[in-house]
Symmetry: D2
Subunit: 140 residues, 4 copies
């Protein structure tokens, strides 16, 4: 599991005085980027080295308690399922000991023309076939 | 069911050349606003007349095919479940005859202090207890 | 001058209860897209037909009075200066008879490798050398 | 001068493969927040303790060289002018030794009803009317 901190800015809030619901998907991306980086890759590498991409096929968020301006949130990211041609990331956003939101994103592995591709063995291994970073449960 | 058109701008795209996944939640909001307006209310009324809010408790999106710059998308919004203190909106985003994405949002009805409240009878009636706008199935 | 309507959504607001200042640059883009479309082109054409792009070199916004949730704003866009390798768009955002914001963006004309290029004659003509759409003053 | 780091995410880019121009105003806000925090305040304090706000009256950005996905950018923020009822922040966004963008924002000091107000002496002192906070070099 990989932890990344985020600070809520004014631009993230809405007139209800809380963070707008679409921003959580941006924060999930931040967590995902850092998860991939922690596994020894960068998302950039997917595109540059492997000529692959991981577009989002599904996203889901459960909003438990509002995030507010200037809060420091921690995105806890893990990977739950790495299959031949897809990967599922699981997220928990916490503020101190409190769970602010949970959710997941499901990604397909496609080539630059958008065709479904198997993930290269190196990716599978790094993302969760055997890496330590990935094996921990999400703890939800 | 209520239809609203949206045009994808450059700022909605990412370097994959497709609309970034968080923007769909913004588009769902656009559809939701217009659904509520079509029922004879405005979301503003929730706040001003009823001193209520409908914060999002859960959101889910299935991305079927990418949306691209300058596409005109139609958000088809319906309401599936209006309960005493919650409402579920269902969305389908289409481009011509093609389904781009589907999803839903679940909302709680809360007062200005964030406490769960029953929806006033007028809201229930307008949002789906008996209004024509709301009764049609989503057609998914 | 080309007019385009925009409706402010919840996601555009911040906890001050007004539209967040960065969104105005998105709305300027909407106006710019429609200005270019009205001249018989689409911004897409720059990229696809001419292999050119118009990245923003400078942007400026004067915020006169706040825009609020559910407001319908009109972006009035005109082009002030079309030079060999640059173009300046001027914007006025109004709500009814009231000016909400004014501003401009300055764009360079570059090829796909980012090198400054002359605008093709057709573009110059369409964008303001002689097109009707472009000749009107901004009316400020 | 206060320095804050930002990492460009996928959601910040557009199909040109570079950071979308409106995001720079978000990054200016991040710099501004940290500048104010470094002066011993938080922007929150304006609202909570002083019942004041600092809405943006003008914003300007010069884009020098594109920012790209996964770049770590540093926002260098300073305050140039603190007057009785306004403040001007100046920003420079750099990547390593290279200047990516520069710009400024001008803010009015208003009360919760939107009326122009003098800044309290404490604010003036802290923000730079005589305080060290603004005149000092980065000193973080």
């Amino acid at each position: 599991m990989v932890r990344t901190d985020i600070r809520v800015i004014y631009g993230d809030t809405d007139q209800m005085g809380i963070a707008y619901y679409a921003n959580y998907l941006r924060w999930f991306e931040v967590g995902r980027n850092e998860f991939i980086r922690a596994s020894g890759l960068r998302y950039r590498d997917f595109e540059e080295r492997f000529s692959l991409r991981l577009p989002v096929v599904e996203a889901q968020v459960s909003y438990r308690t509002p995030a507010r301006y200037d809060d420091v949130l921690t995105v806890e990211t893990t990977i739950e399922d790495v299959k031949r041609a897809s990967a599922k990331f699981v997220y928990r956003i916490v503020r101190g000991g409190e769970v602010v939101a949970t959710g997941h994103t499901l990604h397909a592995c496609v080539d630059l023309d958008g065709r479904i591709r198997r993930m290269p063995q190196e990716l599978l291994a790094r993302l969760g076939g055997g890496g330590e970073g990935a094996r921990e449960p999400a703890g939800e």
